[in-house]
């Protein structure tokens, strides 16, 4: 997903847009930006500073600066909940755990080499079962007798899902097993950071109530989910932009901005 957040000087969010990135569209961050500008009724030149973050941050030719998602997430989550000590972010591509104290990143763990334990695991399962991603959790929460999924690998887990279905296991029990598997994998990863409340879950998978519940059971504490869990990285990037501008103005320094135009990325041409 490509997300754009625009904030004003008072840190109020003026616009937020979330769009699919996809293979062809990942160089079209400019289009998402245009939508956000329209939402805020602003011209691109009125934006004082643009920070790009995330996997595709180098695909944003109109950004003044690129900052890693760890820094942006930390800033964004801290803004949403100043008491956060552990932020877990589960996206479609990776899962991260961030140990935070007073808004400072102390340590992190990350898994991006394997689809198990990421949102991709759920997407693939939804596809296998012919269900919509957003329906998985409500079906799963009906189960009282989860099927254990023994394969770690996403590909093998799909074959297991089909085998269990053909043996007659109820859909909700299989899905409960799938949600349990992803929660176990994430829990094992973040436990390396010593879990302390408040624990905040972000990323697309945070929208899945069954994962939140399973993760709460495994970590033994309440998990807080922001109203729009996809936006924390973009919010962080917007706030960092605002701080850069503020600092420069306080010190009467010039703002180092790039020669930028709201164009698409041209790396592939």
């Amino acid at each position: 997903m490509t997300k754009v957040v625009i904030v004003d000087q008072e840190e109020k969010i003026c616009a937020s847009v979330i769009k699919h990135t996809g293979a062809e569209h990942r160089r079209l961050a400019n289009q998402v930006m245009q939508q956000a500008l329209a939402q805020a009724s602003l011209e691109f030149d009125e934006i004082a500073y643009v920070i790009a973050t995330g996997y595709g941050r180098i695909m944003v030719p109109f950004a003044d600066r690129q900052i890693t998602e760890l820094t942006c997430h930390t800033r964004g989550v801290f803004h949403l909940n100043p008491n956060v000590r552990l932020a877990i972010d589960i996206g479609g591509q990776d899962a991260k755990g961030l140990k935070i104290n007073n808004g400072r990143l102390l340590n992190f763990v990350m898994s991006d080499k394997c689809a198990a334990g990421t949102g991709r695991y759920l997407e693939t399962t939804a596809h296998t079962l012919g269900l919509r991603l957003e329906d998985l959790d409500s079906i799963s929460l009906k189960s009282s007798n989860k099927v254990s999924i023994s394969s770690t690998c996403t590909v093998f887990a799909q074959q297991e899902v089909i085998s269990r279905l053909s043996e007659g296991a109820p859909l909700e029990d299989i899905l409960a097993g799938i949600h349990d598997a992803i929660a176990s994998r994430v829990a094992r990863m973040v436990e390396r950071l010593k879990v302390e409340p408040d624990v905040v879950l972000t990323g697309g998978v945070a929208k899945n109530a069954a994962v939140v519940k399973a993760l709460e059971e495994k970590l033994g504490c309440k998990i807080l989910v922001p109203q729009e869990p996809l936006l924390s990285g973009a919010i962080g990037a917007a706030l960092l932009s605002k701080e850069i501008i503020q600092k420069a103005r306080e010190r009467c320094e010039p703002i180092r901005r790039k020669q930028r135009r709201l164009d698409e990325a041209t790396f592939f041409k």
């Binding site: 293979a23 080499k113 394997c114 689809a115 991709r120 690998c153 590909v155 074959q159 053909s166 592939f268």
Partner: protein, 258 residues
């Protein structure tokens, strides 16, 4: 002079052979489908028909493979690693290392040159270490599994797969297609990635020559080429998919005569 049967129910293909005095009398390959019991029954019936034998002519049956434990008729069940070792030693008595590339798993087995297993390593946790990875990418490119090996040989510039996960590899392949990279280069990349994983498995147990390949992976010239580039020169059986079933049948013969 007895007939014996070896049955290998794989996650993709089921294989069956009938041997007599160590010689192949009949063989058959069928898709396993969802129901292994049905597959095993069909395999046995067609195999007997092909050999012109009745079930009472078979002195002993040994089964192996992914679905071997649920076969509905009388047989013994032996681990596929042992059957593979037996089968490859029967074909190539001097072999010291065998790389068995199946659909759902891969294994590297070390032999003492007399058919005994001295060491082994199995990779079955992750699809990117097995034939499944090739299947996933072939699907994306809308190609048949059997044609991708030869196609990959036409590439001079293999794509590098960065994550080592078959699911992420699938998205990477889609991205490369969108960027206009050729199918051949993407295929060469996935063969290289799998060969790399297999070579790492070989390294774990230590290579001793001669080295052979078995399983469905042995049908793939692209994979064999990439393994060769990594320093693994391979003996390839004429029908690599049958090695484990053959081993099972040979083992059954040995048990009957002893």
């Amino acid at each position: 002079m007895v007939y014996c049967m070896g049955i290998d129910i794989g996650s993709g293909t089921s294989k069956g052979v009938i041997t007599k005095d160590g010689k192949l009398e009949a063989y058959i390959l069928l898709p396993s489908g969802i129901n292994y019991k049905v597959a095993a029954q069909k395999l046995r019936d067609e195999l007997l028909m092909q050999a012109g034998l009745a079930i009472d002519d078979i002195a002993s049956t040994i089964s192996t493979g992914h679905g071997a434990d649920i076969i509905p008729f009388n047989n013994k069940h032996v681990a596929d690693m042992l059957c593979c070792a037996k089968g490859i030693s029967h074909l190539f008595p001097s072999v010291r290392t065998v790389i068995d590339v199946q659909r759902q798993s891969s294994q590297v087995i070390k032999l003492d040159g007399k058919g005994l297993v001295t060491d082994f390593v199995i990779s079955d946790m992750c699809a990117s270490g097995s034939g499944c990875f090739l299947e996933v990418i072939a699907n994306i490119l809308q190609l048949e599994l059997k044609e991708i090996g030869a196609l990959s040989l036409k590439s001079e510039n293999p794509v590098i797969f960065t994550t080592g996960c078959a699911v992420f590899g699938e998205s990477e392949a889609i991205s490369r297609v969108a960027e206009g990279i050729s199918k051949e280069d993407i295929l060469a990349g996935v063969h290289l990635a799998l060969a790399g994983k297999l070579a790492a498995l070989v390294e774990k147990v230590g290579l001793e020559k001669p080295c052979a390949i078995s399983g469905g992976g042995g049908l793939n010239v692209g994979l064999i080429k990439k393994l060769e580039e990594l320093g693994l020169h391979l003996l390839v059986p004429p029908q690599p998919q049958l090695v484990n079933a053959l081993g099972a049948s040979i083992m059954a013969e040995e048990q009957v005569t002893n």
